[in-house]
Symmetry: C3
Subunit: 474 residues, 3 copies
């Protein structure tokens, strides 16, 4: 532990002295490749407006759910971390105080990817030279605050500095896409929308009727009938295509894609919209959502938007927390996922269609070798998405490679996607993935299972070429 905080150039590479030099060589070949960030949640406004980031807490702490979850698990209350709508009792509004709480909890991030991402950001992006702690909190804060006051730290400047070739945002189906239109003019091909219709496909959500109205307004097509609903969705998808969108994104509890007969689907839609407020039963809701996933696949096979599916998350595990602090703040928790039967209808229908591509993600790693790799290893339309969310960490990423590659190979992978709303963590996330992949490939070389030239070529595929291929409209 030196006085000045620096990061080791070999971090996250394998320690074994035979493997490390090979890993270094592979990593060196991909370290500086451009970033293709085809699945993420940075707000499009950041790029459209290009305003300076507000303050270190709003930049690094408040929006990072990995970070706030860990502090909550150790006794912090969300409002103390600045999380919650205005007026929340105890809501901390002093960014320096929030930042102190984060720095005081630095120990709790040991062994987690948050630690890696944050130290990368603090040292490599913001030039911080002391480790975070209760004692150094203000010094770190001041250093970050000084950096983000510099125009070189505005979002568009950072796009260049981070070598981000393309970044996709996530946008509601009813988005007017105005900001994307502005960006298409000012930064052509650099910032792309992603079509996310989740709320519309789940009639049980409290906002569903309002969201139908939003869809109608955005599309100019009445959504009071099932046929109109489908047409309106088609219209918005076309608008996303026109705005440069390459993909859709679907977060469902299950991967079930079983279609319903048209009349049944229509009856469920009507029942969900019915004035009596009875709504759908849990089973009906699940059946309708599954049916709509099939419809989304069918539309993708028409319009070429790459379909992304992220199932297996129980949203808002603690409803009281969600009610108090807003949607997605209620502690999402993974549950067991099932893909072999769930994806079967879509793969039977479109699994060999040249115009269709499906990228499937999981946070239930139990299905890597059992279901996803065997499916991706045979259906041409299916790509296996990168390690996602809780599994987006060094050992988990290594487990993914080890469990999935032997059956699916590398060519059926999506390559890395960062899936983050924390813009400044994007280079750290891609860098970590490149290091972990270099380490995995180096082991294959060291065990004489792959030649070095193949490993370098594969590392470039995973870091750059495969995401470009996977998200090119087929």
């Amino acid at each position: 532990m030196t006085d000045t905080w620096t990061l080791h150039p070999d971090r996250a590479l394998p320690a074994d002295p035979t493997t490390r030099p090979i890993a270094r060589e592979i990593y060196a070949a991909v370290r500086d490749l451009p970033i293709v960030s085809m699945h993420g949640h940075v707000d499009v406004a950041a790029f459209a407006d290009d305003e300076p980031f507000p303050d270190p807490a709003q930049l690094l702490v408040v929006p990072d759910h990995y970070l706030t979850r860990m502090l909550v698990s150790q006794g912090a209350r969300l409002p103390e971390l600045g999380v919650g709508p205005a007026g929340t009792p105890g809501l901390e509004t002093d960014p320096r105080e929030i930042f102190r709480r984060f720095c005081a909890g630095w120990k709790h991030f040991r062994g987690t990817p948050t630690r890696y991402w944050l130290e990368h950001e603090l040292v490599e992006i913001f030039g911080v030279t002391v480790r975070p702690s209760a004692e150094t909190a203000d010094e770190v804060y001041d250093q970050v605050a000084a950096a983000i006051a510099d125009p070189a730290f505005r979002p568009r400047a950072l796009l260049d500095r981070f070598r981000i070739e393309t970044i996709a945002t996530t946008d509601p189906a009813w988005s007017p896409l105005d900001e994307h239109a502005k960006l298409a003019a000012e930064l052509p091909g650099r910032v792309l929308p992603t079509f996310r219709p989740d709320p519309l496909l789940h009639p049980a959500r409290a906002t569903w009727r309002d969201d139908l109205d939003r869809l109608a307004a955005a599309s100019g097509i009445a959504t009071d009938t099932y046929a109109g609903f489908l047409d309106a969705l088609r219209e918005r998808r076309a608008a996303f295509v026109a705005a440069g969108g390459l993909a859709t994104d679907h977060g469902h509890l299950a991967a079930d894609t079983t279609p319903l007969p048209d009349d049944v689907a229509q009856a469920l839609f009507d029942k969900a919209r019915g004035a009596d407020g009875a709504g759908l039963s849990t089973e009906e809701e699940a059946a309708f959502s599954a049916h709509m996933l099939f419809q989304m696949a069918a539309m993708s096979a028409q319009d070429g938007l790459v379909m992304q599916l992220h199932p297996g998350v129980l949203r808002d595990h603690d409803p009281a927390v969600a009610a108090a602090f807003g949607p997605d703040k209620g502690y999402d928790i993974p549950v067991a996922a099932e893909f072999a039967r769930g994806l079967r209808p879509v793969l039977e229908a479109f699994g060999h269609a040249e115009s269709f591509r499906l990228v499937a993600f999981t946070i239930d790693e139990d299905v890597y070798s059992r279901e996803l790799a065997p499916l991706a290893g045979v259906y041409p339309a299916l790509r296996l998405g990168a390690p996602w969310w809780f599994l987006d960490a060094p050992d988990a990423m290594r487990r993914f490679r080890e469990a999935a590659t032997e059956t699916a190979g590398f060519s059926n992978m999506s390559g890395f996607v960062d899936d983050t709303r924390a813009f400044c963590s994007i280079p750290a996330r891609h860098d970590l993935a490149r290091r972990v992949d270099a380490g995995y490939l180096a082991r294959l070389v060291a065990e004489h299972r792959l030649e070095l030239d193949e490993a370098v070529d594969t590392a470039a595929d995973l870091a750059y070429h495969l995401p470009k291929q996977a998200y090119a409209r087929p």
Copy 2:
């Protein structure tokens, strides 16, 4: 293989030459820390009476279900190993003969933790200098027999020699706690009871009515009504608290904690007690047990006893074996566990309560990264229990660290618990866990994911400080 059997000082540390010296340094820093054994099944009478151990077979073979299972799988019959109630046909009563069968089967323990624990015990505790085998069985027996004849090998002396600061026993809810009262006077704070009400929470068990009577007798509160039943449980919990108890322990088939409305719970209780003998259906039994877990959590939030939950075991897989040789002898087998939905009611109700702590264990490792780490990584009341039972082995413990740490961090762990009734294996088990943790932490250091000072600090947390924290009444 030298003539004299010795153990390598680096055993169970990583082989890689970069990592091993770091692991040695971390291990050296924690090797001699006191043992905090907060979850175990050593009989309290061992400490209360402090009698010498009977013989090597009764000490090392007969009560060790890891050991007897392996020999059974290779064709031994339980009675040949001295297992079974008096009068069992073929029950071996010659301890030397039992010990010979164990030594002749030494090969079968290769690669299992039993091998590690036993070689540690034989060499480091009993001074054995030859490897067990059919040929050496009598020599090993004689050496162990000579050792345990020495007063230095009585249980209380071994408590000191093993550096056991605190040890928890497991006691039925109706225990009068007399032996604990004696120990509280003679060895204050050293041997603590744990409240285990399992039989009372499962009305379908054959002994349930008798156990209710035992509860009534111990508590002085009639248990013929649901309200009385709850009051009697509260009384016994208070008695355990008064006797120094820090925790409860719950072994249920499922982790379901769904509460029932009071009147439904009461009706199930009455139905289970009903004179008609009809009892509860399987579904009713499961619902009542889940409801009672919720009640236990509610009582823990009142009295501060740390709640331990060990679900996911199908008890007595072979009922004929259980019938012949006694409960828990019938080959317990793990089944798939589910925590995300199961724990939700308790976590919604008490997950943020400062007075409540839940330590969850699993022998279904598929839930480490999928459910338990995400839950422990956000709910302040939840700690993730150590690798348990079949997973309490070098590679399994390493998998636990790798799968759980990246999401839960270290601070949300219980630290190591040995969970054994084999008293002399306790130092071996803690030593092995410290070695495996040192190896895991050394890899993080060697991969520049953690600094060495942080790794040493974390190793001490896992070995000593976290168990003390986790089992301190909140």
Copy 3:
């Protein structure tokens, strides 16, 4: 990458410099042990007729579903690879063209076991000296074609060259076993049949009634009653025993072995055979199949045929592909498996029977540590089958050892089985398994968890002695 393609002698051994020399020593001790191939699917006619292999494509590409699946996942159509019945539109009949497609896709096999097996075959068996690629396809083809024209490459000669001591084929229950009779005379004890009654135990299959007729014809026992059906199965099992058969093989969707009352089983049989064509419901079909597994176990306990169970595969995931290209071509996909409850009836009944042995396989690795190892680690009749199918790859085999050994030990394993219909891949598969086991055992030695002499002894058990023991009729 040298000009001449050679394979590294240390391939698939651990890279760590401490562990590799130990692994080399262990591997050297088992490398040349004979092959005992007790579970495989090479056509018995290959040995009975001893004809030359037709051409490189028919030998290496067309029958290898690992290989064709990967090319399909990258856009190839099965007919382009020569797969499909005569008359299939687009069916490629030029073996050289098929071989070119395989060579052009060589990149896609990186990181998969197919890569290892094929390079072993091409270099070590066929003497190929250039890596496959679009450019070298014809050169590689010519080299393989020249080799298989040599009488030294006929199947029986290769049996010797491959050091195959015994090989089991898989044969339908109604097989007349003529070819096995011929082989018993000409190559005594070398090629053995395996009794595979799957189609007869699944009344819902379209061929079931025809298969019943085949069974009746082969056994000379009418199969129009349930009693006759069982008698006919017994007769065929006896014929397999007489022909040297040692085992049965069962591929069911689930591991359920729950027996039905005789009258219920008989009623289901009658209903399935009924002229009205209604057949069994899905539940009835599953119940009947489970019941028949129990009957097979009961017969095994009588006749000593070792029972092999391979559950957990959803056959023909894409029915249209199966319809076009034949059974087993429709992309089999694993699903979650359950053994603890499923095997319970058979283990309760026969788990301690000295005349019964069950070898259980899985492609759901989630059950290794949770269910299979605990079961195999206590029931003497149960052996844990080797890593199977998708899991028959270096990292997956290592995970199997790491997850299963600590609970089941080595003595409860079946040893390696290759399970292949690709005859020339057999030495490669056994060699890879021996290397991976040597690496695993070497780590145990390097970590001082096992002595070197024990590791060498265990490696020989896994490679040779355990398969011989596991498949010896008990």
